[in-house]
Symmetry: C2
Subunit: 423 residues, 2 copies
């Protein structure tokens, strides 16, 4: 192209801002029509999608892409089914836009409340998975936002083919094409431009590895909704039901090693360690999970010696660090110090202990008698998620449609004036 | 001091993070005790406060500080009364911390809801007014946060004297001194350090002029809750009650010229301009408000010719720009384009027009038949405000106690496991 990347991105930004006004006031039925039409378009375009994906896979193989990345890049028929189902699920979700709450009269006679509205323009930056294109576009559209999608360059043909289906959906519903725009250039400067135009973009949601997210957070001139590590803990308390604790801890680690809600450190109260650890360790060992323990742990069970680094490592693998703690205070302190404020759980039948754990553990999700792997938008009832935020401001924890909106004040009067008796 | 500014600020940050755990779990009664004891300490320290303030004023005069700044710096007896009343008002507000909502069961058997919790550590950066020290400290304390306060160097003695009273309050309530810390150095590098330690500070609230806020937003490595311009509009619609419209527009401009909710641009529907403008203009002229109009305005009333810049200027002065618009669409477009997304009002008796205005104007507060100068935490029923946010994420509009907190998920189960039938 002859225009510079900056000019190109500015053009996308302007078009997105304009389109955001249209999608922001679109009714629920019109938005659902676009989502369902896009689902049908995907279903009708399976051959094109496969061909485009094959181009990316061929290029990826030629460029020596790692097998794990190639696997993520692949648009299998099952993944296409998943995208279609996802679109239909998002269409079926309640529309958060326009909800009004807490309208109440003030002594001055004005009535004040809040209304939920779209954020405006959302920039999504993601890596290889092309199905993120559909996830992100559908959630942003349903929540009344315009989106600019910047996928990985290795998925560019797949993303274009998917975007074409979304465009068919928008057109059928009479919505402007700029409601969902896919960045067509693979130039990395496009990302730098996207995260530095607050006049056109209201928030950036990066989805990918820690490196990507740190880089974007550092350079962004726009707010970022981000997910960093998931260093999740299960604390088996003094008053835990130990059989229940064993099932919970096992599930928290082994449900899936690679998810951010997987337990990485098991904290065991010293009063139950002797009773709890041997059987727990046997079960993990049978499953092939490597245990790394503190000194007190290693006095009870066989385990590799844990180093200081282990307490702040997200393994995403069949490895678990285990620490015996003095009691609830030390458990909370450990979690707040070494954890990533993602998801942490206490196993206990003691009401006061669970209340303190919930109040004092500074994490996006705090749990009682439940494995940390439940941290998920679907499990929480959000219907879908665009990610899990480890930030405290705006959206914390799994982010669904509500996290892509904000609330503004609405004030209704009938000629009341400030600083004067009412008219 | 022999330690570097960076080391000093890091020490403050660490102490604040530790203190945030204590204040975060403090009960409502203990927090109120600290607030009321601080109020009594202020009342008992009037002589010390006056002496400290006199030091600042003398230095200010010697340094040739502008009269307006000297005025803001002054701690008159009435302002000390105001601080004492403010502390007692904040003590009387409901405590937002710990509120749990929307606990509901999911098909898996887990129960999911949200709990309101403090943000953690809040850094406040402000300019000359020493009473901000009390406003900010009291709101942060009540909402369970630790605070680091960085006031203007010209108010350092006053701020120290006020901080000493807060310390007496904290001590009487048995709370650690680091719950509220005042930066003791006037070195400007302290600000740079404060806004760049995400491990110790969760959010920055700058209060001051546009220059300060832009600088901080640009350099911060921590989220910022900020207030930029207040370019507020009143749109007199086709179906306005013109007598009501005149009262509203007059109040919106003249209640106080210097507040961010003051109207800066009056938009008048072309269908009513001929009937509305002459009497409105006469009233503004009598009050000494300079009018700057578009061409269509100047065809009806005497006014200086408005330039393109006028539409995006926050006068904070007895100056008003006036534009005749074609209708509701153009009014909304003008506001979204030239406004600052702060507060905008429609005057109309037409339901559909007011509904569209409320939905489509992209501002923190949208109003119907009410002057924009009502944009204020007290008028909205928040009890107090730490500022008015023009951001969209997290807090939008007047920010009270709730804006200094966030919500985390709480999940309660009884041994349910993910991906398996419940136990």
């Amino acid at each position: 192209m002859t225009e510079s990347v900056l000019d190109y991105m500015t053009r996308l930004g302007r078009a997105a801002r304009e389109a955001s006004r249209v999608i922001g006031r679109a009714g629920t039925a019109q938005k659902n029509r676009a989502l369902l039409a896009a689902a049908n378009a995907l279903d009708a375009a399976r051959a094109e999608l496969a061909a485009a994906n094959e181009q990316d896979l061929t290029a990826g193989r030629a460029n020596g892409l790692e097998p794990a990345l190639l696997e993520r890049l692949e648009l299998t028929p099952a993944r296409i089914d998943g995208m279609i189902t996802g679109l239909r699920q998002v269409a079926a979700l309640p529309d958060p836009v326009g909800a009004i709450r807490d309208m109440s009269f003030r002594p001055s006679g004005i009535q004040v409340g809040k209304m939920r509205v779209p954020l405006g323009v959302i920039g999504i930056i993601y890596e290889s998975r092309p199905n993120v294109t559909i996830d992100a576009a559908s959630l942003c559209l349903k929540s009344g936002n315009a989106t600019i999608l910047r996928g990985g360059s290795e998925a560019i043909h797949s993303n274009r083919a998917i975007a074409a289906c979304i465009q068919r959906g928008l057109a059928e519903a009479g919505l402007p094409p700029a409601v969902v725009q896919v960045v067509e250039t693979t130039d990395r400067a496009a990302v730098g431009a996207l995260i530095a135009m607050p006049e056109h973009v209201d928030v950036i949601v990066p989805r990918g590895g820690r490196g990507l997210i740190e880089r974007i957070s550092r350079d962004a001139r726009v707010p970022v909704i981000k997910h960093l590590d998931g260093i999740c803990h299960v604390y088996v308390g003094e008053h835990a039901d130990l059989a229940k604790a064993e099932r919970i801890a096992f599930n928290a680690k082994t449900y899936r090693y690679g998810i951010c809600g997987a337990m990485e450190t098991l904290l065991v109260d010293q009063s139950v360690a002797q009773d709890f650890l041997p059987s727990m360790a046997a079960r993990f060992r049978e499953k092939g999970v490597e245990l790394r323990g503190c000194e007190r742990t290693r006095a009870i069970i066989d385990a590799v010696a844990a180093t200081e680094d282990d307490w702040s490592t997200e393994y995403l693998a069949p490895i678990l660090s285990v620490r015996v703690v003095d009691g609830l205070d030390q458990a909370i302190e450990h979690i707040n110090r070494y954890g990533s404020h993602h998801t942490d759980s206490i196993v206990s039948e003691h009401l006061a202990d669970t209340r303190r754990f919930v109040a004092e553990v500074d994490s996006a999700s705090v749990m009682i008698n439940t494995p940390t792997c439940f941290a998920d938008g679907f499990e929480y009832g959000l219907g879908a998620e665009i990610g899990i935020s480890t930030d405290k401001l705006h959206a914390r924890g799994p982010v669904g449609l509500e996290g892509l909106t904000c609330e503004k004040y609405i004030v209704v009067g009938d000629g009341q004036l400030r600083g004067q008796a009412t008219v």
